[in-house]
């Protein structure tokens, strides 16, 4: 059993009681809500005649269903309009702060909370969304919950949960040029498998992690869940604190000093005990692309789609399913596979640094005429910052469509969808069957820089040929 890790410390700090069944009652320091997984929870509160216990500890935004072309109200899609109206009504009724479209702070919930300074070290953070693990980049313990648990957090600010085990993923050396956080996390998921993290929190550590910016760290923690881990985190350091300074909701003045002192005390002890430790050599990783229907089915850009006999017995069944669904053959190179749609955005890779990297690749280049390419900033703040830097113009000049912030084609709950069996190069997080809106649509996950390279060439390409 783990001992003296950051996870243990934050868990113990937030433990309210041991419940009769054996699970723990955990206080949730920050609760984030959005339009998709909250309406039924508010409905359940009403049915049970309950109120929101601490409205100041819940914050809302709207992201999954928002259109990215025309955001004027009412939305063209009646169901989407009904969902945003329900959220507006619930927030108003229960006095919950809501960052709506046009507020200047709306966006994907996992982009918005860090950029507002809501996400802080040492907190427990829950949200009805599996990518809540993102916030672990700040040394918080953050995890996705279902709607019944959203109801419980609203009603009690606590949830019932079994304590997770802790696996440290030690990343040695540094990523090489043209290789990004997305490549590292795809590589980790491939090496460990998509279910290795079940029952675990992942602590990402080591020189390669220390070398990452806060936004890159968010990309890593974001995809913990694709490796099966509900929660992933990184011990806070000077980069964390400097990112947080002067954010809208960060502690100010004398509070800042107190916060800083407390945050600095928060990290896994040098002699802490882990349930498991895994080592990864970051310097050996190439730009990485998925070829199948799970985020674990990835290879380096210069590798070939694996044959069945190269895979472990447990991976064969889903590999066969993937060959058929993707219409790819074992032994085929991933490089040069034609792509029809290129998508840059999502809570994994829709932040300003992601847009900067992609824009650098696209500058003075043109998107292939066979490709539909669009970029969806992660938030209104990201969009505004990009405009100030002229990134929007670089995207538009290259042939990318510049859209309004939201989740968009990561999960295709708005009108941004693949058609038929189109292949997308996508900076998002899931390549599941049908994920991007067409039951036959095919998704290749990769870094934003790699999506930009694929857009220019109209096929999967090695971004290092553009930047070296």
């Amino acid at each position: 059993m783990s001992k003296d890790t950051l996870f243990d410390k934050v868990w113990d700090l937030h433990k309210v009681s041991s419940l009769p069944g054996g699970s723990d009652q955990i206080f949730i320091g920050l609760h984030l809500i959005h339009e998709v997984t909250s309406p039924q929870a508010f409905g359940a509160l009403k049915d049970k005649n309950l109120t929101v216990k601490f409205p100041s500890r819940t914050v809302a935004t709207v992201d999954h269903i928002v259109p990215t072309d025309n955001q004027s109200r009412p939305f063209k899609d009646n169901l989407a309009e009904q969902m945003i109206e329900t959220l507006e009504k619930n927030c108003l009724q229960h006095k919950i702060k809501f960052f709506n479209i046009g507020s200047g702070s709306q966006g994907i919930v996992h982009v918005v909370a860090p950029e507002l300074g809501l996400t802080q070290p040492g907190m427990t953070i829950a949200c009805g969304d599996s990518h809540t693990s993102t916030h672990g980049a700040f040394g918080s313990i953050a995890f996705g919950i279902g709607t019944s648990q959203v109801r419980d957090v609203l009603a009690t600010q606590t949830i019932a949960m079994n304590k997770l085990k802790v696996r440290q993923i030690w990343c040695e050396n540094q990523l090489s040029n043209g290789v990004y956080a997305k490549d590292l996390v795809l590589h980790i998921i491939n090496k460990l498998g998509v279910k290795a993290g079940v029952g675990f929190a992942y602590e990402f550590a080591g020189p390669a992690i220390n070398g990452l910016s806060m936004e890159e760290r968010m990309t890593i923690c974001n995809m913990s869940i694709e490796g099966g881990a509900r929660c992933g985190y990184i011990n806070p350091d000077e980069k964390t604190f400097s990112y947080m300074k002067n954010k809208l909701c960060s502690p100010k003045n004398e509070h800042w000093e107190k916060a800083l002192t407390w945050w600095k005390s928060l990290k896994s002890d040098e002699d802490s005990i882990y349930d498991d430790v895994i080592k990864i050599d970051a310097s050996k990783i190439e730009p990485t692309v998925t070829w199948g229907i799970t985020p674990g089915q990835s290879i380096g850009i210069n590798q070939q789609i694996p044959f069945l006999d190269e895979l472990s017995p447990n991976d064969k069944l889903v590999a066969e399913e993937a060959y058929e669904y993707m219409s790819f053959k074992p032994g085929q190179s991933i490089k040069d596979i034609p792509v029809e749609v290129c998508f840059i955005g999502s809570c994994t890779n829709g932040r300003i640094s992601d847009l900067r990297v992609a824009a650098k690749v696209l500058k003075d280049k043109k998107v292939s005429k066979n490709v539909k390419a669009f970029v969806v900033p992660g938030s209104e703040k990201v969009a505004n910052e990009a405009k100030q830097e002229g990134l929007d113009q670089i995207f538009k000049d290259s042939g990318f469509q510049w859209r309004e912030p939201g989740c968009s084609m990561c999960l295709a709950m708005n009108s941004d969808k693949l058609i038929g069996n189109q292949i997308s190069a996508s900076s998002s997080n899931r390549n599941f069957k049908g994920r991007q809106g067409s039951p036959r649509g095919r998704t290749l996950l990769m870094s934003p820089a790699m999506v930009a390279a694929a857009a220019i060439n109209g096929k999967v390409s090695d971004v290092r040929e553009f930047i070296n």
Partner: protein
Amino acid sequence: MKSEFTPPIGKISQINGQCISLVGNDIDTDRIIPARFLKCVNFDSLGESVFEDDRKTLKGQHPFDLEENKNATILIVNSNFGCGSSREHAPQALMRWGIRAIIGESFADIFYSNCIAIGVPCFTLPKNSIQDMQNHSFNKCLFLEIDMNNSSAKSKELNFDLEIKESARKMFLSGEWDATSALLENEKLIENKFHDLPYLKFNNQF
């Protein structure tokens, strides 16, 4: 759709019913209920859309469309079932189709806790036992009696010792799987925690 839906309620100690097998590892929640069906403000109509895209692809041959499975209540699956999104819509859709318990090699964490929260127990068994169950249910209808008291499942010919998290087993037996009331009981402790947490003292409140 089948007869009118009634949600599980109170103590769950015995689940008897016909099995339906779904073969495949890493079946994610996007497949269980595609995202377009999440555009709703209640769960009521999700049952009919469960596995919508997989069912369309198989043109009537998907297990959830086969006539002999229409009264099944126990779902038999393989490993990492329910991975991906946290959408409770996935277990809600299965439950509203008629599923009352799931037996599998392994489950994704969030899916598992969502199932507990809505009163659908998930049990695990080793791979070979799951394959035995799946083979039996393909050849002819497999009826199982699941007893939560000793975590066992039996049919005329087969006996299985099921695994379930002890905390979940106790909650089903006591009827406290709907955690809200147990959590509310500690109101005083919750308020103490709210006042004690260091960061709530130095944070701006809305």
